[in-house]
Amino acid sequence: MSEMIAESPVRVDVPAMAPVPGSERKGLTKKELAADHPTWCPGCGDFSVLALYFKLIEKRKLTHEQFVSIAGIGCSSRFPYFVQAHGVHFIHGRALPFASGISLSRPDLHVFAFGGDGDAYSIGGNHFSHTARKNVKLTYVVMDNWVYGLTKKQTSPTSPLGFKSKTDPWGAVDYPINPMKQAIAAGATFVARTTSTNPNHVLAMMEAAMDHDGFSFIECLSECVEFYEGAFDAANPRKGGMFKEIPKDHDATDETAAYQLAGTDFPGYFGIFYNINKPTKNAKEAEINRGMMEKVKGLKDWQILQKTFDRLK
């Protein structure tokens, strides 16, 4: 962890963030982490994601002040209100650039962003691509329900062809986005897929994402019981479907193989499709800063500016 702070592009005088390994302190309990009671409908898949986020924080022994939860707008984006920690409910589609601003200026914080399919892939589509390509260190969990829920059943960018909604009463006509393919093509360095009906798997993906040094993206199927009931039954063994984990021999550093897996028909595969190590935006900015700060070593900030002003005389 001290390594990460050394790489910080911005000097922040804060204590190291991670608990000492093997320390006796217990992780925060669900009771300590729960804030407002969720506004989601009974049966919503997002409850499971929230519960597993609490588990993650507890298991990794993060304290309240060591992480932030950022979200845009949508049902799932209400997430930060339900977490007892510093959080942000930002505007529609822009959670990622906001989260990037935190990640790039406060390397001492774990940054988690949450959203739905409309927020991530429609209004926020541009930011999804660019945050992925810049490889900003943060974890992004998208709860994909294939429908706009907060505005009560309009077509979403992941709604399958033929899905009847209030904006497509005769069935959706636009081809849906494949989030996995988009993430891989955009240059995301960690791309995983899970479903809220398999809690152990969700937690495993979250843990791997949190450990990844870079932009880690989790596409999580999360059923909307109100407006798209049964959408993911084919991926749920309890509903007669199949939960297929990624084949054991899949090479997660092979971009083409990952892309091929992403093209499998629904319900497709679950697990880590792609996972490579590439220098993060955070590390690259820190490297620039190290080089530049070396040249002005020993000078106070005002003296650095004075040197510049001396050239403007």
């Binding site: 592009p9 911005v10 000097r11 922040v12 005088d13 804060v14 300590e32 804030a35 407002d36 304290t63 309240h64 002040e65 060591q66 932030v68 950022i70 930060p80 209100y81 007892q84 920690a85 510093h86 959080g87 942000v88 409910h89 930002f90 505007i91 822009r94 650039p97 906001f98 989260a99 990037s100 601003g101 935190i102 790039l104 200026s105 406060r106 001492d108 914080l109 541009n126 930011h127 691509s129 660019h130 900015e285 620039i288 800063n289 080089g291 530049m292 700060m293 040249k295 002005v296 900030d301 005002w302 003296q303 650095i304 500016l305 004075q306 510049t308 002003f309 050239r311 403007l312 005389k313």
Partner: protein
């Protein structure tokens, strides 16, 4: 170029006139390095404790196209870049034909005889001096030079004409071209001396600036965009995000280049929305961050701006205004973004708007904006414009050791935190940023939804009303601290000219000129545009007419954007507009002519001004 003394020496020897100021316009194409000459002249003036102001136009195209650089140097106070030039240096036929009109009658036109065919008719009105600048520059530097070095040759000519300080210019040239290939500095100096040695004294008299009062202390020379960028650094800003757009881009390029020295970063984003979102994210994380743009980009940033108002997160937004609407006039000046700065974004969204009056102001207003944002947890707009962004001025060097500030966040544990506490004095709640432990175990969510004091979403009628009032009250508290601007000229009289932003210089010069002619006129410059300072009505009451001089449209009702705000605030029908939308800075004579016209259309004799 007002002569104070003419020393004609006997026997036909060169004549030297003493002057206290000069306006020099250099006209050529944008790739001729004209701005470099202008920069040298401006910097020289700064080092010589003279006042200087420049004005430039650049074509909106990427390469080529006519371009000018005008520099006004004075031993006394210089308020504007000058209505008319004393000397025109014309490098091409089009430069000659398009700009002869900007030359004072009897003024000097130095032209490149290789490219310009003088018009016999104009030779009566202007003193023509033709010099084969291109040929002589190539001869001086050597055959492969082509057109390179022509600008520096011309600088040499100007240096001789105005008896400028050669060692200081040599030093500036060496600084400018140093660090590159040794031969570049050498060639530049050769070109400069070739121009300087040209026997111009045979063709016309030369000039010498009188000693000014001296400004005392060192001066720094920079343009408005640079002053803003360095102001942010002095203010302690260490993070910013932006997207390139003219004429804002220079600010982001400067911060991108400079911030890493201070351990900070400026991030180029995928779009305008991402850049304000990233900046407000970094601000939320602890230290006030900055974003900026020009007109079209400001429109795109409006929604996120509203979030910062609602969530009460500080932020500084620069708008380097250009001609609008839409893509408009990217390289021309206009003051037509006051309304979007003040009212843009949906909902009741009060915010702070400041406008710098000159380059020096850009430096200090950047610091003021950061401190207001921090103190009141609000977004603060800085309304600069294309004219101030690109014009170079010299100003007294700031005491950086005193001024530079550290705005690192305080992460000390707090017992408890109520982010939107309605009982807080003036509605201002000091922020507790992420990374801070809150002993009560209750953590805040920064939110764009209407919320209760703890930050929980609520649509309760009373709560919305109370929170709207809280956000308003903060700025009312700020308003109480805003200084009342000082009247330039007597506090009572016939006409008061009111201005904001980059027009301060020409407005004051108009006042000086009209008063010298016996007219009763004063001016008032408003730097704090939202909230407006108290007491303006008292000032207005001392005058029969209040004309708000702006570079924007007179609208449906005959007054511009600031005039509209003042009329709404004071219900005073004497407040009227003097507006123009030609994309150029105000000339002093344009302001005076407009005042006359307004007064006569008011049924009064023009001479009562």
């Amino acid at each position: 170029m007002s002569d104070t003394m003419t020393a004609a020496s006997p026997g036909g020897a060169p004549k030297v006139s003493r002057i206290n100021e000069a306006v020099i316009r250099i006209a050529g194409n944008s790739q001729d390095g004209i701005q470099a000459i202008g920069g040298f002249l401006a910097r020289l003036a700064g080092r010589s404790e003279q006042e200087v102001m420049t004005f430039m136009t650049i074509p909106p195209t990427i390469s080529g196209g006519p371009s000018i650089f005008q520099v006004r140097i004075g031993s006394g106070e210089v308020l504007s870049a000058g209505d008319e030039a004393d000397v025109l240096l014309a490098l091409y036929q089009h430069s000659y034909e398009d700009h002869i009109g900007s030359l004072k009658r009897g003024g000097i036109v130095l032209f490149d005889a290789d490219h310009v065919e003088p018009n016999p008719e104009w030779q009566k009105d202007y003193r023509h001096v033709g010099i084969p600048i291109s040929t002589l520059a190539v001869e001086a530097i050597g055959g492969t030079a082509k057109d390179k070095g022509k600008n520096i040759y011309a600088l040499g000519l100007i240096a001789r004409t105005f008896d400028l300080n050669v060692p200081k210019l040599e030093k500036l040239i060496a600084e400018r071209f140093g660090g590159k290939d040794e031969s570049i500095v050498k060639n530049a100096l050769v070109a400069f001396h070739a121009g300087y040695s040209y026997d111009i004294g045979n063709l016309l008299e030369t000039f010498k600036f009188t000693e000014g009062p001296g400004k005392g202390g060192h001066q720094v020379v920079m343009n408005g965009n640079e002053a803003l960028g360095y102001g942010f650094i002095a203010a302690g800003v260490r993070f910013g995000a932006g997207y390139p757009i003219t004429p804002w881009t220079d600010v982001m390029e400067l911060l991108r280049r400079e911030l890493p020295k201070y351990g900070g970063s400026f991030i180029q984003c995928e779009d305008e929305i991402a850049s304000i979102s990233m900046a407000v994210g970094a601000s939320y994380a602890g230290r006030v961050a900055v974003t900026g743009s020009s007109g079209p980009g400001i429109s795109l940033k409006s929604e996120a701006l509203g979030w910062a108002v609602m969530a009460e997160v500080p932020l500084v937004i620069v708008d380097v205004q250009r001609g609008g609407p839409s893509t408009g006039l990217p390289t021309s000046v206009e003051q037509s973004d006051l309304n979007i700065a003040r009212f843009g974004s949906h909902g009741d969204s009060p915010r702070v708007v400041l406008a710098p009056a000159n380059v020096e102001d850009c430096f200090y207003i950047a610091i003021e904006a950061v401190n207001i944002a921090r103190k009141y947890n609000v977004p603060v707009f800085i309304l600069s414009d294309q004219a101030i962004a690109t014009r170079i001025e010299a100003f007294r060097e700031p005491d950086l050791e005193k001024i530079c500030q550290d705005i690192s966040p305080d992460l000390t544990t707090v017992p408890d935190f109520t982010p939107y506490d309605l009982s807080a004095p003036d509605g201002v709640v000091p922020r507790v940023v992420p990374g801070t432990r809150i002993a009560s175990g209750k953590y805040p969510v920064a939110t764009g939804l209407e919320h209760d004091e703890a930050g929980h979403p609520t649509a309760a009628p009373k709560m919305h009303q109370a929170m709207v009032a809280k956000r308003r009250k903060k700025l009312l508290a700020l308003q109480a601290t805003v200084p009342v601007p000082k009247v330039y000229g007597p506090p009572e009289g016939n006409v008061l000219l009111v201005g904001w932003g980059s027009t301060q210089g020409p407005i004051r010069e108009a006042v000086d000129r009209a008063r010298a002619a016996g007219d009763s006129i004063s001016s008032l410059h408003i730097k704090h545009l939202s909230p407006l300072p108290h007491g303006l009505d008292n000032i207005f009451s001392g005058f029969h007419h209040v004309f708000v001089v702006e570079m924007n449209d007179e609208g449906f009702y005959g007054y511009g954007q600031l005039a509209g705000m003042l009329r709404a605030r004071y219900c005073d029908p004497r407040i009227r507009g003097i507006n123009k939308t030609d994309g150029l800075t105000w000339k002093v004579k344009e302001i005076l002519a407009a005042v006359k016209m307004k007064l006569s259309s008011n049924g009064q004799a023009a001479k009562t001004v």
